[in-house]
């Protein structure tokens, strides 16, 4: 059991040192696309809200775009990932602290609860990280599709503005 907890603690520290530079690199690479997708979601949300409709489908669309906007906010992503990971590390530290002579209470359930909470927070962090990486993969795909669409659109005829004849 002790070895497992030691391994888990090393995994936590390893994840913490890995995500820092990865995040910085990935977010800076896709910053432009995030801004564009964020703008698109804001526009859609505002347009939906202009309709003043109480229809269930539309209210769900508005909520969906709000969630997408939250997902695309890098500051929020960083807070969620680092927050859960730091809490997991603190709880693991607290678990080790409970094995020292400074900790006078000898309740097994506190130690188990501490380590279980830490593991739950670590799993939450991994889920958030997978959502972030999913967003980045979607960003790359959408960029390619947008380039393809722009190429196709330029091939279609567009309406022209009538030139006003000078009388």
């Amino acid at each position: 059991m002790k070895e497992l907890v030691d391994l888990y603690a090393k995994l936590l520290i390893g994840t913490f040192t890995f995500i820092g530079p990865s995040f910085t690199l990935l977010i800076s690479l896709f910053q432009d696309h995030f801004e564009r997708v964020k703008k698109a979601h804001e526009n859609r949300r505002e347009t939906w809200m202009k309709t003043d409709s109480k229809d269930e489908t539309i209210l769900r669309e508005i909520k969906k775009h709000k969630l997408e906007l939250n997902r695309l906010d890098p500051k929020r992503q960083v807070k969620m990932v680092y927050g859960t990971l730091l809490l997991a590390i603190i709880l693991t530290g607290f678990y080790y602290f409970q094995h020292t002579h400074f900790w006078v209470f000898n309740y097994g359930w506190i130690r188990i609860t501490t380590i279980c909470l830490s593991i739950a927070l670590f799993i939450m962090c991994l889920i958030i990280l997978s959502i972030v990486f999913g967003t980045i993969i979607d960003a790359k795909k959408a960029e390619k599709e947008a380039q393809k669409e722009a190429l196709q659109k330029s091939k279609h005829t567009s309406l022209q503005i009538l030139k006003k004849l000078q009388s």
């Binding site: 347009t47 202009k50 005829t157 309406l159 022209q160 009538l162």
Partner: protein
Amino acid sequence: MNDFKVTEVIDSKTIRVEPFWEMEFNGNTYSGDRINVRGLEGLEDVPEVSDRLRKILINTKLQLSFDSPQLIDYNDTKNSIVSCSVYLGQDNVVYYFPEFVNNY
């Protein structure tokens, strides 16, 4: 780049734009100010659709674009009607009518 503005929603599938559009077809030049919104053409005159079109298209700050125009009424070369895919920003306008478009 299209630079049109919607001035009126005539019915649940037709809008009026400013300035006049112009299009060449079979060696003739056609123009008009009415556009049928592709995707809403199968609807009967539905007040909710006209109302929503009015709210989202008139005085919008988003870029309006009209793609793949197709002449549908060209008896009068100066007052023709064209059918287009209408885009508000990067979204087709039909996206804002899910309950109407899926039902016909």
